[in-house]
Structures are given as C-alpha cells and as structure tokens.
Symmetry: C4
Subunit: 200 residues, 4 copies
C-alpha cells in the first residue's frame, strides 16, 4: 500500500519535537541552596547543560536530515513506515542516555554513560542509512524527476556516519567530555547541506 | 455535522506522538552508583527496557493502523469524533500500565501488572473494532470509491484482536515476561499490511 | 492583520494534545508494594483515575468544541490570537488542579481542591464565551455563507456554561467526588452536537 | 537548498506547544497538608504561578511573533533552518530558568534566578533579531510582493528587544518579582500587532 508521506511526516515531526523538548526535564534545578552556593551549584552541573546541548543539536540535526530526505522521498510504503518507526524509537530513546551521561560525567562510571550514549547514536546512524538506502534503491520511493546529484551527495555524507559514532564511542571510554564534544561536532557535520559539499 | 478528517488526524497524531515519547520518562537513570555496579544496575532494569519497547511498538503500530484506517475513512461525524476520543483515552493511558508492569516484573506482584497491562490493550482492541465497524458499516464514512477488498481484509485482521489480548492476559497471570513478549509479537501481527494478507 | 486560521489551529491542537496526554503523569505507580497489597493500593488511588478521566474528557470535549468553532471561524485577527492564547493558558493549567484534587479527595482538604478545580473550568467557560462572541459578533470572523442556525445553537449551548461550572464549584464544597462526577456530565453535555439540539 | 516553510513551521509549532505546556509540570501540588494549611500552602507558592504565567505569555507571544514572521517569510534555506533551530533551543530551555526563578523568589538567591531568567530572554531576543534580519536582508526569503511597511514596523518593534531584556536583568538583581512583572509587560509589548503601531 503506497500513499503520500504527509501524515508520516506530521507524526515524525511530533515525535522529534517532543523528544527534543523533553530533554530539558533532565536539567534539574538545585533545590534549597544558600545564596553563596547557588552559582557554584549551577556551574557544577555543567555536564547536564553540555549533554542537553549535544542531544538537542543531534536531535535537531536529525530532524533537519529527516526533513531533507522527505523532500526527496515522495511516496510511502509499509516498509518505510516500519523503518521510520525504528528511527523514531531511536529518537524517543535519546533522553535516557542523555540523562545517564549527564549523571555520571566527572564520576568513575562516566565511560559507561559515554558508551551507552554514543552506542545509541551509532545504532540511529545505521537506521538512517537503512531508511535512505531503502528509499533510494532503484529510486524506489523518490519522485520521478529526483535530483540524482543530491541523492548521491547525501549517500556519501551518510556513509561515514556509523563509523564516526563508533569512533566517539571509543573516545568516550577515555573521556566522556571529549565524547560529548565530538558528538556535537558530528551534529554540525550532518547539518551541512549537500549544497556545501557540492562546492568542494 | 460532517466534516473532513484533517484536524482529527492532526490531533490524534499529536496524542500518539506524545504518548509514545512520554514512555521514556519511565526508564529511570540509576543514581549514585559506584562504577563497578553501574553496568549491573543498567542490566537489572531490563524489565523497564522491555516494557518500553513493547509499549513503543504497540503504540507505534496503533498509529500505523490509525493512519491506515483514515486513508479509507474520508468523512468525520460526531460519533466518530467521540469513538476516536475513547481510542485516544486508551493511548494516553498506556504509560501508566507500562510503568506499573516495569516496576513489578521479577517481583511477586508481576501478574497484577500484567493483567492491568494486557487488560488495557484488550479494551483498546475493542475500541478499535467499534471505530472500524462504525465507520465501515454500510460504507458510512468511507469514500465513494473505497477498496472493498481492503476493507474486508482489515475487518478480518481486527476480528481476533480482543481475543488475542485476552490470551496474553491469561498468560500474564503465569509469566509477566511472556506476556510482554506476546504483546510485542501481537504488535508485529497488527503491523502486517493487508497487502501481505492478500498474498496468502 | 487578518490571516487564515490554519497555523492557529495547528498550535492549538498541539497544546490540547500535550495537555491531555500529560494528565497521565499524575497517575502514580504504587512503588514497593508486597503482592497482597498491590490490588488494594491500585484501587485506593481511584480519585487519581476519576480525576484523570474527568479532566481527559473535559479537555477532549474542549478540543471538539474548538474544532467545531473553527469550522465556522474562517479568519484570524490579532484579538482572536490573544483570546485563543488565554484559552490555551486555561488548557495548559488543568493538569495542576487535576493533580491537586486527586491528591486531596478523601482527605479534609478535598473541598479546596474541588473549588480550585471547578473554578478553573468556570474561568475557561467564560473565555470560551468571549472567544465565541467576539468571533461571531456581527459575523466578524465567520465565513460569508455561515450557517446562522448553527451559530445560534452554539451560542445557546454555551450560555449556561459558566453558571453550570459555578454550580459544580458550590457542590464541590460539600463533596469533591460529586463535583468530579458533575464535571464529567458537563463534558458530555458540551460534547453534544448542535444537530442533536436541533431535533429538540 | 530552498524549500517551502510548511514543515519548519509544523516542527516549530510542536516545540512551542510542548515547551509552553511543560511549564505546568513545575507548579507542584503541596502534598500531605492538613486542611487548615492547604490554602496557605497554595498561596505561598505564588512565585510558581507568577513565573508560570510570565513564561507562558512570553512563549505564547514568541509563537505569535514566529507566526507573524512566517506569514512574511515565504522560503526556507539552510541558514534559516539553523537560526530557527537556535531559536527553538531558546524556547526549549525556558522551563529550566522558570523553575529556577520560581524556586528562589523570596529567598536570598532570587537575584541569581532573575539574572539567569532575563539573561535567557536576552539571548532569545538577539536570536529573533538575527532570524528576522537574515530573512529580510535584501528581501532574501520574503515573498515577491511583501508588505514593506509591515517589514519596517516589525524591524522597529524588535530593535529595542535585547536592551529591554537587559534592563529587566538589571532590575532583577534588586527585585526578582519586579523582574517577572517587567517581563510580563514586555510580552504584552511584543504581542502588539504592527497594525497598532501604524495608527500611532
């Protein structure tokens, strides 16, 4: 059964929008602090802010990519619905590793949080590839007049994705903070529009 | 008063998207764990992950079905608005039995959680049938040129629904874990597109 | 500045959908109960379920009414945007009195919870009237060919609204449970479509 | 890559709608109060209500402005997507400073909460300007027949924004309550439609 992608996009937009907004619930207000210690308490929870920012940008950039893919994907079939649901599962899951990593940065278990965090993005990067390759394979779900260059550029941009997240996972074993910063940089990379790659 | 279904679908999409995303709030981060016990603590809360996954897929598949039904249902009347609201009540409710079951799997009260969990899906399966039978009865709210085969297949796919959930409820009295796994399999069954059933 | 109502409806749908779904967060899972007491603990928190149900139906019916009004309201001006924002403020607020009332039903402070609960709906009923009278006054924001009978019926249906909620407030001083049940019945009344009133 | 703004608006609507609705989660129900102290406990948490109201109106007015801008902005490019994401980051962040300020109003650390609160809005006001100036510069993303007067009025209305929020920050060092009230008044100012400014 094939249909238009409108409602799939609407449902996905909803899940992205909610997951990105729920992240803030994990940034906790320091309670019952005397005046002299409130600034310090706010500063000491910098891992929460950094994890919030990194996850915010990663989900935001995933949304930008989802948006970008669905300007090319014009039809929807049952397999795409299912792969998209797997992708949304990944997006919905992110607040958990975000909270876990924020809790343990600066403590001995930080590397465990980093492994779960980067591991989650590693899996999501693979799902993104599956979604893209399924939709574009033999032009399956693209419009009739799709932009072949654009599709090629996106494919090339996505290919290193899982490997890059695997790299941040390995870095995360040694430094959770470095892991977060690398993930932020990866978000910037995936935000780059194909048109910039064209100029290269 | 009859009208188009656009806004009903938008509101329903919102409720489905939020309910599915709120599920993650019930997966709690283990706090203040020493490094050596963090992996173990993460693994020990596997019932939370399993309940999260099962409910995620069940709500996701409900959304897919809702989407599928509303590609056939073309008009909206007040009774449909009301039945749809009952369905959304069921969807909104799910995070509660999910958290309940996750809390008690592996503890003596697990069967109670399983009964509430499967019982909730049993009621939702009935509401889905009512919605479908009302909309399709004498072609009431379908388009003029609706696909009779498709409507018949969906009707046949939905008929065993409540009985199947009743079966998982009975299994749940003996094993909450088996109950969760069976519910996951049921989600897969209801995700099957009618076009697959056609080929049978 | 006048514009179409599409985006206002989308934003409102979002707020309604989220507020109605957040209600479940106030239904708490009883933690660490021995098997023998779990059923009892689940049953003892019936005020939570009743408050959840009442607020769910009240918000749901508000959404149905919002939907009904905006099939008649065709244009949007700045004043309507503002009145609609006040209405959404009311909708967003509801999870608080719901949780408050659920906490105190069966305890001495219940009447306070009931007064805050019904008082909130009283204010919302007034805002609904302002929105409707502003939009319909001299046909201000209606379509050119609006259904005069329908507009008249809705006006007559809304007129007793604030008084009815005031009545539930007074009842609530004596019995919070009766207050909840009356609010549920009011939701049913406002769900009635004008076409039913026509037949009277 | 240029495209229409429909899906960007839908995603933004979702984030605005969720952030505005999550604010209520920070208004806590006083638990286990004897009857005689419940009214008092409800009244004593007035900072929570005031912060909720101020943030609600500020986010609501931001949404109205976003809506207003995107009736003029007709095309979307990658830079706009990015700036819009920064704006949504600001919106998503607001529940945190709201809860922080509500926690400390009336306590010695209140000025710290006020600085973080007004500081957040100061940054958001700057992002709003960047978004507007980027979109309108040389009519970059406007429709071909855009209303030059309207664009000019909005530019003039936005220019004092960051300075005004800086002023509330300075006031907040001395009185957090005054800071909240001034922020509420600023929301009213930014809600004013350009058409009112025209009449001046």
């Amino acid at each position: 059964m094939e249909s238009e992608t409108t409602r799939t996009e609407a449902f996905s937009d909803g899940v992205f929008a909610i997951a990105i907004t729920l992240l803030i619930l994990e940034v906790k207000v320091p309670r019952h602090m005397p005046e002299g210690k409130l600034w310090q308490a706010l500063l000491e929870q910098w891992p929460s802010y950094l994890a919030f920012l990194t996850s915010f940008f990663t989900i935001g950039v995933m949304w930008i990519n989802h948006h970008r893919l669905f300007t090319l994907i014009r039809r929807c079939d049952d397999a795409l619905l299912f792969i998209n649901l797997m992708l949304l599962l990944g997006v919905t899951w992110i607040p958990f590793p975000t909270a876990l990593l924020a809790e343990y940065v600066g403590h001995p278990g930080a590397w465990i949080g980093a492994v779960v965090y980067s591991g989650s993005f590693f899996v999501i990067a693979i799902i993104f590839q599956v979604l893209w390759r399924y939709s574009t394979g033999r032009g399956r779900l693209l419009g009739d007049d799709y932009d072949r260059d654009m599709v090629g550029w996106i494919t090339r941009q996505y290919t290193p994705g899982p490997f890059a997240y695997l790299a941040t996972l390995i870095v995360g074993i040694f430094s959770a903070t470095a892991c977060l910063i690398l993930n932020m940089l990866l978000a910037v990379f995936f935000a780059l529009p194909p048109s910039i790659m064209r100029r290269k």
